[in-house]
Point group: C2
């Protein structure tokens, strides 16, 4: 094995080199620095590296094997005895995460929104893009990436955002980030620098984002959402200077900001100089039959909007890939904040994504994803109609989740608890509300990652729970 190992020996010493090596390795193992099962370099390699004769190392290894510290493994050289390896490594629990994996263990149907669809990840296409990028890179490529992102990706994003979402931008106003979390982190920091202390958020909205805003030092101020989207009058009355919204497909209710509200929001931004953060979290996912895909709100007031997209819903959250389109002066400030956090996003991942966009492969992937999500949505609507009388799927046919309003008399919390007892993990609408007090009973159902039959079966289980009360 060509492995390396650090060994501390002193050439001019009373102790023989063999005994020095032996003592060193024994001590490293005893102190847990060399871990059980760790493979060691071959004796020839180690002797070469240390500039000693091979017999010195052979003897040291032999002695350590005899003592039970090392073991020879046929075909795999020598390793630290592995009998302790069975002990699983302790792993720090993930902190403050709203990721979908947190408590999924065990439930037969996990209906929480954010359920990812890695099954639909375009593996073959992604790999071929990644490979092309890797082969193409010349010797001088792949230094530190530009902080704002690889120019090739920024250009593709600018084109694509214009065509797909009607975003009014150019490559010089686009920045690549590590997902929406980083976007929010950068914007909150920039707002705080301006003396802004509060950020308007939608209510109901994303509880993880609410917490994130608070942890970032701003006070999240809930603004009501109704069938037309966020209440812009409440925003105007609040005196807030910035607001975080999901205009295309409100999270979690699924409603679309109405035309008059869009106009009012743009007016608010222009008149007050307020900042709108547009979280277009599932912007590429829209599958209403013959429905008109809503355009990004950003185009109404490009000088006052940070438009934010992400690959988490359309590709995979694990890529940690997102993007921002913002007016240049603000983008420059966000870059300055970022320069204190990291030095940019993985080059290969960026360029592979640019390749996926350029070739039209991403659009093709979106079509497949939309077809898949539509069939789940249809299954959900059908099952709700059939098994949950009085309940109704509201909001647009878009994204990876739907909002199911339950009949007034139903006890939402009891349904959620009862569902869990039947191995269905589902979130009630209350979990998404910021303000205390009773809310109309509802369920927020992530459907796109399930098989069609799973959607149907899970709704049937929910119906049993509702009926059982």
């Amino acid at each position: 094995m060509a492995l390396h190992m650090a060994v501390d020996v002193v050439r001019e010493s009373e102790q023989s080199l063999t005994s020095q090596i032996q003592r060193f390795i024994r001590k490293e193992i005893a102190e847990g620095i060399l871990h059980p099962g760790t493979r060691l370099p071959s004796s020839r390699r180690l002797a070469d590296d240390l500039g000693v004769s091979r017999s010195v190392v052979v003897e040291a290894f032999g002695q350590l094997v005899a003592e039970g510290y090392l073991e020879a493994v046929r075909g795999a050289g020598t390793r630290v005895v592995a009998h302790l390896e069975a002990e699983p490594p302790q792993v720090v629990p993930a902190l403050l995460e709203e990721g979908p994996d947190a408590h999924a263990a065990g439930a037969r149907w996990d209906l929480r929104p954010g359920g990812h669809t890695f099954a639909a990840f375009p593996r073959r296409e992604w790999l071929s893009c990644y490979q092309r990028v890797l082969n193409r890179a010349d010797a001088t490529g792949h230094g530190y990436p530009p902080l704002a992102g690889e120019p090739a990706l920024r250009l593709e994003l600018a084109h694509c955002l214009g065509r797909l979402r009607g975003v009014r931008t150019g490559a010089d106003q686009v920045m690549v980030v590590a997902g929406f979390a980083q976007t929010l982190s950068l914007v909150c920091a920039a707002l705080a620098q301006d003396g802004v202390t509060a950020l308007g958020i939608e209510d109901p909205g994303h509880p993880g984002q609410r917490q994130f805003v608070r942890d970032s030092g701003l006070c999240p101020v809930p603004l009501p959402v109704d069938a037309e989207g966020v209440d812009v009058e409440a925003l105007a009355a609040s005196g807030l200077r910035a607001v975080l919204v999901t205009p295309a497909h409100q999270f979690p209710t699924g409603v679309k900001l109405s035309a008059s509200r869009r106009e009012a929001l743009a007016r608010w931004a222009r008149d007050t100089g307020g900042l709108v953060i547009e979280d277009d979290y599932d912007g590429g996912l829209w599958y209403e039959q013959g429905g008109i895909r809503p355009l990004a709100f950003q185009r109404e007031a490009p000088d006052h909007v940070v438009y934010a997209g992400t690959a988490s819903k359309t590709l995979a959250p694990g890529l940690r890939l997102g993007w921002i389109a913002a007016p240049r002066p603000l983008l420059d400030r966000l870059l300055r904040v970022r320069a204190r956090q990291d030095l940019g996003t993985d080059t290969l991942t960026q360029l592979a994504f640019a390749e996926l966009l350029r070739g039209g492969l991403f659009d093709r992937h979106l079509r497949r994803l939309n077809a898949r999500a539509r069939s789940r949505r249809e299954a959900l609507e059908e099952a709700v109609r059939k098994h949950l009388p009085g309940a109704r799927v509201i909001g647009r046919a878009a994204g990876l989740h739907a909002y199911v309003r339950l009949p007034r008399h139903v006890d939402e919390a009891a349904v959620v608890a009862g569902a869990l007892a039947r191995s269905v993990l589902v979130r009630g609408g209350a979990a998404f509300h910021a303000r205390p007090g009773p809310t109309a009973p509802a369920l927020v159902v992530g459907h796109a990652h399930l098989p069609r039959s799973g959607v149907t079966e899970a709704v049937r289980e929910l119906a049993e729970v509702v009926r059982g009360r």
Copy 2:
């Protein structure tokens, strides 16, 4: 083409659908939302998506082609006319970066340290690891990554750090980060929370890091470096509570912290409860003939050290991959800070690196890299001996750069300027000093990314400059 396009049409309108589509696209192009050269969906696709008859779209497209807004491209459908495309996109200049690409343009020999060696990147091995990981991922994989990193990578790192660097750690004390910049960002934030206002740094040291520390809100306090490494007495006298050091291979002088200084530094940390950030930036790169690879300082006082490594020197800066080994309570705090910055590191990249470590491919790659760097170092020493009488390469044979001390009488700034005139880009020692005042003339030479002949030729050019004065 399966492309998507957002189009705003109203079904019940006095305007015909054709004229609505036509006007919409014309306006999007005129306003720069649809960019020159952007490809559009086929008329069939768009008609399907909008739920209109194909002839409606065909007519609209035809009219826009006639007007010169769109053009048909044989075999590639329809696109926005590209005659404006020649204008190169404006790209935001990278801010605050010390990356090697900043001013490289043009120089025949770029001797700046940090010159990356992507030519040596193990493309084949990396791709095969990446592919294996991608194929292995099941449908439920690749949600949001654990904030501390993928358990598989943390385990491999713990094993590897013990064997290769003698780091005293376990998987539960290891965290994966987006390169050393993020490490420094997290640690500075945690220190600031503790009321720490200053951080000791080595002088000479890394000017980019000095700036980074300052931008992070801490005052960087320079500590002198001599042939034994950083001056620990100066540290003890300073009253500082934290220090950033490069004990294995001081940057940029290349000296190794002496045994007595190591002891003194560990004693300082234990006695004062001070924190040592060990920047092991080129820890895997060591090629002294028969030389003993220095062990990480961390093992001397694991409860007081944040050990930080990076793949930037051994693989590529573009991967944005680094790691931390730290005592658990501190690691938990760093995780809490990180939860406000991003949601973890690219899963696929992490798992591919774990694969590279597990199979011994990384060690094999290090051997190649070390052999390459050693041959450059030898060429440098030989050329300096031959062409630059009185100059001397100091520091250990390690890493990707060397420190060349020039004869006392030489004017360093004049050499640097004269070299540039001969198309040799090199940094003088003064650029790395924090405290003002004269310093002994020296050059910091990144050599590992050059061909051997390039090293020789560049030194010959430098010699001409020195002689010419």
